[in-house]
Amino acid sequence: MPAITPEIVAEHGLSPAEYERVLAIMGREPNITELGIFSVMWSEHCSYKSSKKWLKTLPTTAPWVICGPGENAGVVDIGDGQAAIFKMESHNHPSFIEPYQGAATGVGGILRDVFTMGARPVANLNALRFGAPEHAKTRHLVAGVVAGIGGYGNCVGVPTVGGEVEFHPSYNGNILVNAMTIGIADTDNIFYSEASGVGNPVVYVGSKTGRDGIHGATMASAEFSEDSEEKRPTVQVGDPFTEKLLIEACLELMATDAIVAIQDMGAAGLTSSSFEMASKGGLGVEIDLDAVPVRETGMTPYEIMLSESQERMLMVLEPGKEHIAKAVFDKWELDFSIIGRLTDTGRMVLTMGGATVADLPIDPLAQAAPEYDRPWTPGEKLPEVAAADVPERPWGEALLTLIGGPQGSSRRWVWEQYDHMVMGDTVGRPGGDAALVRIHGTKKGLAATSDVTPRYVAADAHQGGRQAVAEAWRNLTAVGATPLAITDNMNFGNPERPAIMGQFVEAIKGMGEACIALDFPVVSGNVSLYNETNGEAILPTPTIGAIGLMPDVEQSVGIGFAAPDQALVLIGAEGSWLGQSWYLAQVAGRAEGAPPPVDLAAERRNGDFVRGLIRAGQVSACHDVSDGGLLVAVAEMAMASGIGADVSVAGPHLHAALFGEDQARYVVATADAEAVLAAAAKAGVAARRLGATGGDALAVNGADEISVAALKKAHESWFPAYMA
């Protein structure tokens, strides 16, 4: 066994101070297996050492929250004895190194987080961020990531119903692949990871263990350098077929009462799963490594414990129920092995070939996991951009630039590679504000979306954090759903730099404020730091995944105009804010200024009003106003339906009115504008008649028409042409 040198300690990502703590806990020098276990348990990925202090400040409770952060996924009550279980997780680094497998195993991992709690996965989403389109690697990464997400999700038979795709040069060397899964379980049959019952058998199921991804967890927490492509052999290969069998087998076993606790083997595989289960239960665990099903010969204890082979789960069973579990896993032709038992020693003891190969205390290790209060500096406030200082271009030309460019073009090329209809409940397909999936066998539905506007967060992390949460809430509202809760995926640069840490802290503050104002708690999440290449950080990207409940899916509306001759009503203020807008960046060539402020009271008021209209059947189409502003929103409604519209805007600056990205706004189509306006006046909601649907062209103030066909052509062309 190699001696533990300072180099080996450093290679394991432990600082000298952290290693001192290891020595104190062990009371002796650790062996390499033990060091490996410390290293992964104390990695940023597993310990949240830089972020914990701030994550704790997020609101996590509400009457409908059954389980907040801390378990494999968050759980919310959706009535009738059912719960929605969901989480988002990043697979950024692996996807940059091997896009197909990295993205595929990201989907596999998040699916396991959800079905490990007893939920049948019913929907996947994916939030993707790539470098500049013209960067040499981008196309290859887009192709691989999209194929990988589809390859995995399509095969397991869970519909991929939504997501985001953005391009920005800050992601050139650090793409973001954030995957989200939503599942549904019965509230009286939810499974947790807390082990209990001294002597209870610890059981390994799923695929065999190979030498995959050893040190993936520490790699995911290390900053990239140019030579990181050398780290390739740690890439894991996903096997969605086995995952599908694992889902079915676990759910089948969960219908019996054989399981005490269950935990998927994610980052740091067997180490973190066994460690966390025992730690939560205040127990010890003994594992016989000879009983672990392995794929290769000669695997060392270190390799077995740190392997990140996919499609594996760890369970604690009721004593005497082993045969029931074994029969289920035999039926599904998966490995099943009793590898150990729970003890009352509070220690993790590993044996192999009859000898003890590791012996460490669980609670002290968990308690002593480093937690840092990293220094941070607030971001500089950027000046507001005055609309009068931004040149006006003809609106038609500007609109075509926005909807036909890399940021604003249709993502159809992406989502048509995902099976978004399997399971037979996709009522709202990709392309709208939120996807809508019917809860099987009922008339209820779950709405789902993923949102963040990284350029806003970069310009003002506090407002950007608020905006990300507000936009997710708005997207759920726009289909008619009641927003329930969010999961977040905090993608940032190196937290050891005070400016980056400042982005993190301020974004969390903003998110927390929005969560409170909108009754929208955080129930699960994930942190991905060190997203930097050669000292260049990504735009701060706190991705918000959110779900909402639709009591009756038949009441929901889409973004497409349902008919001609409907009145269009703008809910919310007139457009005015061009700072950080698409228009300013893409038409005027200036990515600058303060982002639009988020008035949370207006968000709440306007959103509740719109949801009420939808539920009352008073609107036939609805779309929130976000990237690109009002005219982009109306154009998207026209393109989704093939029906044109005429809108009228006034004011000193046409471009600010049409393309300003002011928040808390929606466009609704209605047969009865008077009723909508009267209701708005009563509710204290700003609203005005915007125009009407009809014809086959889009017009502003009755002039300068662009045909919907021409809009569609521009909108649908960019992505396929880029990828061809």
Binding site: P233, V237, F241
Partner: protein, 80 residues
Amino acid sequence: MKAKVHVTLKQGVLDPQGKAVQHALAALGFTGVGDVRQGKFIELDIAEADPAKAKAQVEEMCRKLLANTVIENYAIDLEG
């Protein structure tokens, strides 16, 4: 000239396809089938007539496109 390229998974990399084939062969009643690994076999017609140059060219194709060198190895045979 004809180039024949074998692209195979690196040692230690999981091969779900091979695993499934092995399983299916057993289910079909074939006994004694151990490890199964599935790779790709690519045949290319190339204009380059000089063997050394041809080899170098195909090597580059493998590195850039035909093989995923993160998880795959490749081997090249030239003919004719």
